[in-house]
């Protein structure tokens, strides 16, 4: 899949989950629940070299998933 | 019906907006405004009163007062109910027919149209009639036509 599409989807999810400091957990859970492993991996790969683009909880979420070996 | 008349009617019928119980009143209103109820007015009434066209049509066709076409300049209504029969209204109707005015076809001749009615509430002075709404007692074909010609002059 085009990684830019994944970025768009990720950012849309981030925008729609209100953040009271725990949004990254919810975003991670969402990606874990609904994204295929390959989508998560591709996204992580992109994130890893473009971290500046993800200052918010989305970045934290994908990093968390990666650390749990889910991305 | 032109747009102008439709808008006129919509204004006339405005008090009945959303009132499903106003179909009959709306039909009266249209007929008093235009002299008859054109087909397109049924749709205007339906929309105004928030009912179906069929409902309006059903009411329109139930009551004998309403007409789908413009009336003649003068409408003569002759009572043919019992009390007036007792005073010869059958003969009046027959005389009128002989002169071309048939209460069944309601065909207009020289701007005069004759219709039958069942009781006009003037049963002691029959035959009773209305000539364009003006009551006439002890009517004869001649007295009616004379009054009608006066009106349609």
């Amino acid at each position: 899949m085009d990684v830019q599409k994944l970025v768009m989807m990720g950012k849309q999810i981030e925008k729609n989950i209100p953040d009271h400091g725990e949004a990254h957990v919810k975003i991670a859970a969402h990606l874990d629940s609904f994204w295929t492993p390959k989508m998560r991996a591709d996204f992580w790969a992109y994130y890893n070299s473009n971290k500046d683009e993800f200052p918010g909880p989305l970045g934290v979420a994908i990093a968390t998933l990666h650390s749990q070996a889910k991305a | 019906m032109t747009q102008f008349v439709v808008e006129d009617l919509e204004r006339t019928l405005a008090p009945f907006r959303g009132d499903a119980s106003a179909i009959l009143r709306a039909l009266h209103e249209v007929q008093s405004e235009l002299g008859f109820v054109p087909d397109s007015a049924l749709d205007v009434i339906a929309k105004t009163c928030n009912v179906s066209r069929a409902e309006v049509y059903g009411v329109f066709t139930f009551y004998s007062d309403f007409r789908a076409t413009p009336p003649a300049a003068c409408v003569v209504k002759v009572c043919v109910a019992e009390a007036c029969q007792a005073n010869g209204s059958r003969e009046v109707v027959a005389d009128l027919k002989a002169q071309g005015y048939d209460v069944h076809t309601r065909k207009a001749v020289d701007g005069i149209q004759v219709e039958q009615a069942f009781c006009l509430g003037n049963c002691a002075l029959g035959p009773a009639a209305f000539v364009n709404g003006q009551p006439i007692g002890r009517a004869t074909a001649e007295s009616l036509l004379a009054a009608a010609r006066e009106v349609s002059k």
Binding site: - | D19, A20, S21, A22, I23, L24, R25, A26, L27, H28, C49, E55, G58, V59, F62, Y63, S64, D65, F66, C79, A81, E82, A83, C84, Q85, A86, N87, A117, F118, C119, L120, G121, N122, C123, A124, L125, G126, A128, F130, G133, Q134, P135, I136, G137, R138
Partner: protein
């Protein structure tokens, strides 16, 4: 000087308006101080236009005045009450009136119907004012005690109907006045509405206050344009004076009244068809149960009474139930407003206690036929009423006594026919009228009436007469027992009575063929 020229539409039909205009014109030309009052009609319709002149001795009447004759009459001293060929003397002393007992019609013909102050000065609003001091239940009890029965035809006790409505719980109740006076030979409702509209308004307001109905409707047939105008004008005045509205006569009670106009349908005089029509719909008959007193207009508890019924109420309230109960005959209490119509010499309104004989009404009041020929038959109670012959003259005019003879009082209209009438034609007309005016809902009335015309035609034509007579009899049975309402149910009454009394008119060959 006051001159009275009736505004009743029967008077108008014989020129009352032009008479009134002529009097005013001549008075103006001559510089006379004449006030023309447009009163209701006294009900002596054969005398219309009946001009009355106020004199110190009373109101002197001049009968059958035409506009052309006005100048001569005035020149001859009419305005001074002179004795002239047209004069009938003091109207109040006229035997036709003195023999009557005018209760409901007490003010009709006396006053200017649209003068609300005169209405009050003649005893108006007294009943309402009294009712406003009573509980609804007490008002209903008074109406019950008076013995007042529905004047529309069925004769159902008004108080019982009211009690049902007063006991019903609902967010809205209605009072509906049935002024769809469609029976040929009847015009009392019209004359009251044109001649004393405030009485009806007062009666309806009392009914509304009594049962907790805040809205009332008067359903008037479109054939009565003058009554419609009269009622609308009177209602506006009553509203203006606070007798209608949110605060009836300062009582804090609410009653609003509106006129609704029919559109040429006889069956809308049937109470449930009238309800449909009041709801703006096709005037088809509703089955009963449920009764309108419980499920009536817009599904709410509703009093439905005739004009004459409601117009009797103010007097009952003002003078007490006992006064009304004291009048009448057996179970028919109070007075009945009879209407003499058709081929009759002295046609008009006769309000008198129940119990007067038919013969007295027709010969005594009516003075025989207009044409001067012998009477052949009389139809009582409108187009659904039976034809009777002179053998019925001794019958006391009351609900039960008439029913016992197979006839019915209906709305009290009596239509006289002379001997030129063909009764097969009248029987055929009864079916034809039913075919024309049936709402079309139930089968016996819808199809039966049309078949009735055809079968009568075959009988008269001598076509398989005995078979068709039997068929007509079967048809009458199906219509009588099978119809949804009185329209189809009573149409056989004139048919059967005509056939029974005057078989010869049907060309019936003895034994049939």
């Amino acid at each position: 000087m006051k001159v009275f020229v009736p505004c009743d539409s029967a008077a108008l039909s014989v020129g009352a308006d032009s008479v009134a205009r002529a009097i005013e014109e001549i008075a103006t030309v001559k510089g006379l101080d004449v006030t023309v009052v447009r009163n209701g009609s006294r009900g002596m319709l054969w005398l219309e236009p009946l001009v009355e002149v106020e004199t110190s001795a009373g109101r002197v009447g001049y009968a059958n005045v035409s506009a052309n004759a006005v100048a001569t009459l005035i020149d001859s001293g009419m305005l001074e009450g002179a004795q002239l060929p047209a004069s009938i003397g003091i109207v109040d002393n006229h035997e036709w009136l003195t023999r009557q007992n005018r209760v409901t019609f007490a003010r009709v013909g006396i006053s200017d119907p649209q003068c609300i102050t005169e209405y009050e000065s003649l005893g108006g609003w007294a009943g309402l004012r009294k009712a406003l001091t009573m509980t609804g239940e007490d008002v209903v009890a008074d109406v019950t005690d008076s013995g007042l029965r529905g004047r529309g035809g069925a004769g159902f006790p008004a108080g019982i109907k009211w009690k049902t409505v007063v006991n019903a719980t609902a967010d809205q109740k209605y009072v509906c006045c049935n002024a769809d006076e469609g029976d040929s030979g009847t015009f009392a409702d019209r004359m009251l509405m044109e001649g004393d509209p405030f009485t009806l308004i007062e009666g309806m307001t009392i009914a509304g206050i009594a049962v907790g109905a805040t809205r009332g409707f008067i359903y008037i047939r479109s054939e009565y344009p003058h009554a419609i105008t009269a009622m609308n004008t009177a209602i506006a005045k009553a509203q203006e004076k606070g007798f209608l509205g949110d605060n009836v006569d300062g009582s804090g009670k609410e009653f609003h009244l509106d006129v609704r106009v029919g559109a040429g349908s006889y069956v809308c005089g049937e109470e449930t068809a009238m309800l449909e029509s009041l709801e703006g719909k096709r005037g088809t008959v509703r089955p009963k149960p449920p009764i309108p007193a419980l499920v009536g207009l817009f599904g709410k508890p509703t009093i439905i009474n005739n004009v004459m019924t409601l117009a009797a109420v103010p007097m009952i309230m003002a003078q007490g139930a006992a006064a009304y109960q004291a009048l009448g005959h057996e179970k028919s209490r109070g007075t009945q407003v009879f209407q003499l119509a058709g081929n009759i010499k002295q046609g008009g309104i006769v309000e008198i206690d129940f119990g007067i004989t038919l013969g007295d009404l027709i010969d005594g009041f009516g003075a025989g036929t207009h044409t001067g020929k012998p009477i052949k038959t009389v139809q009582i109670g409108g187009p659904l009423g039976a034809y009777v012959g002179t053998e019925a003259w001794p019958t006391p005019m009351a609900y039960e006594s008439l029913a016992a003879t197979g006839a019915m009082l209906g709305h009290g209209g009596i239509v006289v026919f002379d001997d030129s009438v063909n009764m097969a034609a009248q029987a055929r007309f009864a079916m034809e009228f039913c075919a024309e005016e049936s709402c079309g809902k139930c089968t016996p009335c819808r199809i039966g009436s049309t078949r009735g015309v055809e079968v009568i035609d075959r009988i008269v034509a001598g076509d398989e007469q005995s078979k068709n007579l039997e068929l007509l009899e079967d048809l009458c049975e199906v219509m009588t027992d099978g119809s949804l309402c009185a329209m189809g149910g009573l149409t056989p009454l004139p048919v059967r009575s005509a056939l029974k009394l005057f078989p010869a008119d049907f060309n019936i060959v003895s034994g049939g063929k």
